[in-house]
Structures are given as structure tokens and as C-alpha cells.
């Protein structure tokens, strides 16, 4: 069953051909009307907000990492644990949203800053930066179009064991290392070769070798010092503190419509507290982000205010989203046609569904 399910969602299988035939690939999606002048304001780049947040993010990691290591070695692992957990949350949960936003090239005005944060966060999340840049591009073109989107987290039926294990990176981390070794010898998987252009593939091989060298150095330091602290600081957070990126990430699309051309049907926007919004870099405004991907994270609340009349009501909390998505994903284990259907406010433009487009 697992292999059949994966094959259905493969980028090189029959579902991909079917999506192309049905006009679902690279299609025109619903967008709210926003005056050009206003849109330019919302898309305008700034360095300030992202520099401030990145200083807090990386500065926090340096302080917490140093304090955690010192406590672990000199005082008590028990006292170090909460400090390292916070360090890990910045590393492997906030790292996901930094990977995402910097990958879009919208976080900063200065391009090299986006590139630097993208490379650092990609390493932390163990996501090969070139492959994932192209994956994510496809995710935005064909969001939850079966056979076209490489980032569908909750398939129908969902691979529940995989999702649950990944709250501790137990599938992602071994898979990442397997891919790192594959890339280091100059090879890609068929799905990767499908999305990464030939002329970009050399970057994948070079970075895999660099990353493996960093992990090898971490092992050497751990052996020489006779301590696991190097693993707690490098790589380890992807296991012990990655859960929040899954908590956030599953709210984006799980249980919602597949093969629809309207982000209001397949994406959630959720209200979150300041701490979660900092870790998630405002990606809780996910409908807005998908509809206008070039709006920087710090302008998404304004974009939400601009277009909220077209959107279904926001979810008031992460908990509210999970109250919906968990039963939906469980129902899909038996009924794969089931999905969450959002109701738009009166007067909003209608759903942009394939049946309406034809």
C-alpha cells in the first residue's frame, strides 16, 4: 500500500501526466484584486526587519548553545536540557521558516543576505539547498496538485507513521544523510532530476561534500573530547527539537483540497502568538503567502488586512486548526475523497475550481 501511495504522488508517474492533461499543471490560480500601487508597497524589500530577526535568531543560538554546552559539561545535563531545547528550537524549528523565507528571496533587500541565511538554514534543516529551491518553486506553481507537488506532507491516505516519526526527524534525518551520500558521489534521485535543471546539478554534488565534511568534523570533535555535546549542537537539534516545524507545517495544507486552483481551498491562515510568529516568521499567513509569494514576511499581516474580505475566516489558533486537520486526515485513511471545505464570506469572489474554469 505504501509504495502504491507513493507512486500515485510521484512526480514521474501517471498522476503527473493526468494533471497536465486536465490543465492543472502551471495553471492560473485565483488571486484577490489588489491595486498595483498597493501591491508594490507590499512587495517592497527592506533589510531592517530581517536583520533584526536574524540577529535575534543567530545571536540567541550562539548564547543558548554556549550556555547549554557549558552547563552540560560543567554543571548538569539536566540543567542544560531546557537551554539546549531552546537552542534546538531556534536551530531546527525556526530554521525551517528561515529556510523558507530566504529561499523565496524576500526576507532581505540585499540578495547576499538572503543567500547566506538560506544556506545556513538549509544546512540546519538538512535540506539540500538547490534541490529544495526547485522543489519549493514547483510547490508554489502546483500547490497540492497530485503528481506535480513534491512537498505534499499529508497524502490521501496519509503516511501517519512517517509523519509521527518525523516529529523527531526519524525519517527525515536518515533520508537526508542517504541523499547526502548519493549527491556526494554525483547522483540525484529520479524526482530530483525531474525538478533540478541539468546546469544546476553540480551545485548539489559540491554542497553534499561540504556538508559531509562538516558532519565528519563534528564526529571527530565528539570523539576527541569524549562528549556528545558536539552532536547536541550540530545535527542533533534536527532530532530533539524539530517538532515545532512539523506542528506549524502540517497546518498549512493537511486535510484540505487536492487538485484545486484556489489557495483558499487548500491552505490555512492561522492566528498565532508572537513567539510562534517569530519562530514561524509569519508563515501562519499562509493563504496570503501562496497567493502573493513575493510579499516579505513582515508585510503579510498588512496583506491579510488588504484581502481578508475574499478569504474564509482565519483559524483562531493552532489548536483550532488541529481540531479540524487531525479528524480530516484520519477520515481520509478510509475515505480518500474526504477533505475540508472552507466557506467564503458573503460577497467574496467564487472558488476557482477546475469545473468552473472549464
Amino acid at each position: 500500500m505504501g509504495r502504491e501511495r507513493l507512486a500515485l504522488y510521484s512526480l514521474v508517474g501517471p498522476a503527473s501526466d493526468e494533471a497536465v492533461e486536465r490543465g492543472l499543471a502551471g495553471a492560473v490560480w485565483f488571486k484577490s484584486e489588489v491595486p498595483r500601487k498597493r501591491m508594490k508597497e507590499l512587495m517592497r524589500r527592506e533589510d531592517g526587519p530581517a536583520i533584526r530577526d536574524t540577529a535575534i535568531w543567530l545571536g540567541g543560538m550562539i548564547l543558548l548553545g554556549a550556555a547549554g554546552a557549558w552547563l552540560w559539561i560543567s554543571v548538569s545535563p539536566w540543567l542544560a536540557a531546557p537551554v539546549l531545547l531552546l537552542y534546538g528550537l531556534l536551530y531546527a524549528s525556526a530554521g525551517d521558516s528561515r529556510w523558507h523565507e530566504a529561499g523565496h528571496g524576500t526576507a532581505f533587500k540585499t540578495r547576499w543576505m538572503d543567500t547566506a541565511v538560506y544556506e545556513i538554514a538549509s544546512f540546519m534543516m538538512m535540506r539540500e539547498p538547490t534541490v529544495w529551491r526547485w522543489n519549493h518553486t514547483r510547490h508554489h506553481t502546483d500547490t497540492i496538485i497530485v503528481g506535480r507537488d513534491p512537498e505534499i506532507a499529508a497524502m490521501r491516505p496519509a503516511r501517519l507513521a512517517r509523519i509521527l516519526l518525523n516529529f523527531f526527524g526519524l525519517v527525515d534525518v536518515p533520508t537526508s544523510f542517504k541523499l547526502m551520500f548519493l549527491h556526494a558521489v554525483g547522483r540525484l534521485t529520479p524526482d530530483e532530476a525531474e525538478v533540478v535543471p541539468d546546469q544546476e546539478q553540480h551545485r548539489v554534488y559540491r554542497k553534499a561534500r561540504i556538508w559531509l565534511a562538516i558532519y565528519a568534523a563534528t564526529v571527530v570533535v565528539a570523539v576527541l573530547t569524549g562528549s556528545i555535546v558536539p552532536f547536541l549542537l550540530v545535527g542533533g537539534p534536527r532530532i530533539y527539537a524539530t517538532f515545532m516545524h512539523l506542528v506549524y507545517g502540517l497546518t498549512q495544507h493537511a486535510g484540505m483540497g487536492e487538485n484545486v486552483l484556489d489557495h483558499r481551498l487548500n491552505t490555512r491562515t492561522i492566528k498565532m502568538c508572537w513567539f510562534n510568529r517569530f519562530l514561524y516568521w509569519n508563515m501562519n499567513y499562509h493563504v496570503e503567502h501562496h497567493m502573493f509569494p513575493m510579499v516579505p514576511f513582515h508585510r503579510l499581516p498588512e496583506l491579510h488586512e488588504q484581502i481578508k474580505g475574499d478569504l474564509a475566516p482565519v483559524y483562531p489558533s493552532i489548536w483550532a486548526a488541529y481540531k479540524e486537520l487531525v479528524p480530516a486526515v484520519l477520515k481520509q485513511l478510509k475515505d480518500q475523497s474526504y477533505h475540508v471545505r472552507r466557506e467564503l464570506p458573503p460577497g467574496a469572489p467564487p472558488y476557482n475550481e477546475p469545473a468552473l474554469i472549464a
Binding site: 502551471g26 512587495m43 524589500r45 528571496g105 526547485w134 518553486t137 508554489h140 506553481t141 509569494p293 513575493m294
Partner: protein
Amino acid sequence: MPNWVPACAIDDVDEEDVIPFEHLGVDYAIYRSPDDQYFATAGHCTHEKTLLCDGLVMGAIVECPKHNGRFDYRDGSPQGAPVIVGLQIYPTMIDSGTVYIDIDID
């Protein structure tokens, strides 16, 4: 032999911005640079078929509104992933307050 086609009035394009122009079913993009020069390129991003007129102009760069693909609109050169193929560019000239583009290059 140039084929100059009137595309828009000079004031139709804001400084450091882009507007669409369609001629015989073909989409073009007309740019006005911060130093008040006019440029023209193909209307769609070379990465995927997205209209560049909805994108953001920053100096001499236009950014695709879908995937952050960037081009130098003066010479059409790609400025990094996910675009790897350059944009077709078209000569422009100004006459009596109108921007003309030479589409003969098609």
C-alpha cells in the same frame, strides 16, 4: 528593417516600474528605469509562464511575481535561480511622448 510599434505613453509607466503591452497576441513588458530610460522585454518569465508586469522592479532588476526569478531588464540576463534562461529584449525609442518598441526582432 525595424518595425516600431507604439506601446504606451511615457507617463503610463511609473518610475522604477513595469507595465504590460500586448500586440498581435504577444505579451511584452515595458519598463521605466529610475533614471528615466525605457526598456522592453518579453512579457513572461522564462522559468514559467508568469506575467512580469505583476512583478517588482528594483533598480535595473525585474523580479517575477511567482518564484522570485530575477532579470536585468536592460539586457535580459538572468540574475539567479530559478531563472537560467535570459529574457528576449526589444529596442525602444521615444517620440512625441510615446514609447515605441521594435518588435521586428521576433
